[in-house]
């Protein structure tokens, strides 16, 4: 009996493979910043510039983005010479979570601020940095992201859209799909093939910056999503000419560039605060009359949210320290989006148990239920994320 026990104990003597999340504290300067953001949001909302429509960061409001840009809240970690504020990742984290908690519509600048700007800063030429970063930081320039294709969803490396060398630039053919706001954004950064497929399936890809407004051979087809909104598009490229300076970084570096930014895309508070307003609305309706059972349901959600935030802040600190916490950020996105998906189900249950018939709450609940399938798909599907975590644990 003791033999197998001793063996198994011997086997675990080696230090375990754990995902390392060190607790992190948001900076002292964050407190002031937090109040500055809250004040700006209050002021702009009072002025009728925006409404918390329940779309949160998926809502697009150029006016609000310009106001945020003017206040220095876009591109805030970038060098001042490119319009940035040279603040830390953790300070940016504070601003981001304040915007989300308020339900502010930020899609106009979100993708450029979160991943495209940092990519340009890291891989772009001096000319590209000067051309794109300051207007992004002012909240004047909107970018879409072109990753998925009709036949390439989770398996991004299988993309087929290709850019071929031509006089003075590149000729682009193919299509991108789920390209949010391609019908409104000025530019799109897309991952495309610049060399034929080879044995190394991650080779031969590059990122290109596409001028959506002034290029020929681009067709944007709207795709209406489940809730009935138009933010998705399919974008077709037919012999679209891209000038030489469209290339971001060196040809063939696309895959490495895209994967190096994943942690920014996946670990942020938008992976658990997207429908925070629904929880707030529930609490408002419950008021002082919550039953013990309702308290428990609310407390369960709030304690999970708080715990998720500790993990997300920990990843932000790893990013600030220059790390590439792709495994940890996959984990945060998995848990966070599952939390978001379950939240409306809990609200439904509490609303039924407490016999709540508040129309506003039930309307918000209805909207959130319709949006909820998207959380665990966009930005990395659950199954892919868990595969990444499993690889981090050296299971594959």
């Amino acid at each position: 009996m003791r033999v197998s026990l001793l063996l198994s104990r011997f086997a675990v003597k080696a230090p375990g493979i754990h995902l390392r999340f060190s607790p992190a504290v948001l900076p002292e300067t964050g407190a002031n910043l937090r109040f500055e953001v809250r004040a700006l949001l209050e002021e702009t909302r009072a002025a009728g510039m925006w409404l918390a429509e329940g779309l949160s960061w998926w809502g697009r409001n150029p006016e609000l983005s310009r106001a945020l840009g003017d206040a220095g809240f876009i591109g805030m970690t970038w060098p001042k010479q490119y319009g940035g504020a040279e603040r830390s990742q953790l300070e940016r984290y504070v601003v981001t979570e304040e915007l989300l908690a308020a339900g502010a519509p930020t899609a106009f600048h979100w993708f450029a601020d979160r991943q495209i700007g940092p990519s340009i800063l890291r891989y772009g030429t001096e000319e590209q940095k000067q051309r794109f970063l300051p207007p992004i930081a002012r909240g004047e320039l909107s970018f879409a992201v072109g990753m998925s294709e009709p036949d390439s969803g989770s398996d991004l490396a299988s993309i087929r859209t290709r850019a071929e060398r031509t006089d003075g630039g590149w000729r682009l053919n193919g299509s991108k799909i789920w390209t949010s706001y391609a019908h409104q954004a000025e530019y799109c950064v897309a991952l495309v093939r610049t060399a034929p497929r080879s044995d190394d399936r991650h080779a031969g890809m590059s990122q290109v910056i596409i001028d959506l407004r002034n290029s020929h051979g681009i067709t944007v087809r709207p795709i209406i999503d489940l809730p009935g909104r138009h933010d998705f598009n399919e974008v077709f490229f037919e012999d679209t000419f891209l000038p030489d300076d469209c290339l971001l970084g060196s040809p063939g570096d696309g895959w490495a560039q895209v994967t190096s930014e994943l942690a920014y895309e996946r670990s942020g508070p938008e992976r658990f605060l997207t429908n925070f307003h629904l929880l707030c609305a529930l609490i408002d309706v419950l008021g002082g009359s919550a039953s013990a059972a309702a308290d428990r349901e609310v407390g369960r959600l709030v304690s999970r949210l708080w715990a998720l935030r500790t993990a997300s802040v920990s990843v932000a600190a790893m990013l600030e320290a220059g790390g590439t916490p792709n495994v940890e950020s996959a984990l945060v996105k998995d848990l966070g989006t599952n939390f978001q998906q379950e939240l409306p189900e809990v609200v439904r249950r509490v609303a039924a148990d407490e016999e709540i018939c508040d129309r506003t709450l039930l309307d918000v609940l209805g909207q959130v239920v319709l949006a909820s399938p998207s959380y665990t798909i966009q930005g990395g599907a659950t199954e892919i994320l868990r595969g990444i975590v499993a690889r981090g644990l050296r299971l594959r």
Partner: protein, 334 residues
Amino acid sequence: MSELRQLLLDTASRLFEGASADAVFDDVEAGRFPADHWRAVDENGLVDMLLPEEAGGARVEFGDAMAVARAAGRFALPLPLIETVIGRRVLFDAGLEAPPGPLGGVADIGASEVLWPGEISALVGADEGRVGWIAAGEIDFEPGTNSAGEPVGRLKALPPMPPGQIGSVGPGPSPSILMAAARSAMIAGAMERILDLTIDHVQGRVQFGRPLARFQAVQQLVAVMASHAAVVGVAADTATAAIETALEGAGGDATFMASCVKARASEACYEVTRIAHQLHGAIGYTREHDLHRFTRRLWTWRDADGDEGYWQQRVGAMAVEAGGDGLWPLLASG
């Protein structure tokens, strides 16, 4: 990690390894208190580690003590050490002298279970702003055994404490908050060990010609389990840091955070134990494998010092009181 903490952890791990030998678990399940091992942790200063030097302690930081609590979880330590460490600290802070020997947990939540009712010298109890102790011999425990096979005494309500053995709790984290954080750290430690055991098992066990770890279904389950363990770990560390700040008088009482962390830690025990057993198969459902020592303790610890329902209700009441507009400031300040 500070040098002191490393030293403390080295000592603790050495002692805990001895205290988690097969024979010790056998003794515990037979109702025999491992007195030698208790003496060893006491003589090495662990029991009084949170007391100041003038009181015979080592006055380590709260975070250092929580690192030891986590190690206790990693070893499924079958001693009432952490309860005693916290109990002695809260009695000291209230100006009371603790009786020697192991103490029963800091109870303030109605019905509860106390480990080793026949061995502890006293039970530490707390309620609104007060903390006190009562000699174990004066309490009428209902005897029983917990899920981990340890002897427990059940209490329907906190017995009244003798007047001379009651003091006021100072500002900062309350005794039950300290114990909730400590128990969460123990849970985090046990989860880490369960994850190690599970990874080890799925990598070593071959079925259908390949290790279990090669099956996607298995990988996905391990990932879910690792996620819960990791979040409980970082949440426990974050709450510990806040408590340490509060104990130094540098602000806050960490009540919200510690309540959240015990709610989350207790809740996660279900998923972690469920997946660990699922992946271990039949061998994990035996006493021939070590897994049961850790999963059975999680089933005990999730209920100890307030189960998830208790803490969820406290967190929920704080959230509802804050209101829709106040919820975010509550979360962001915590």
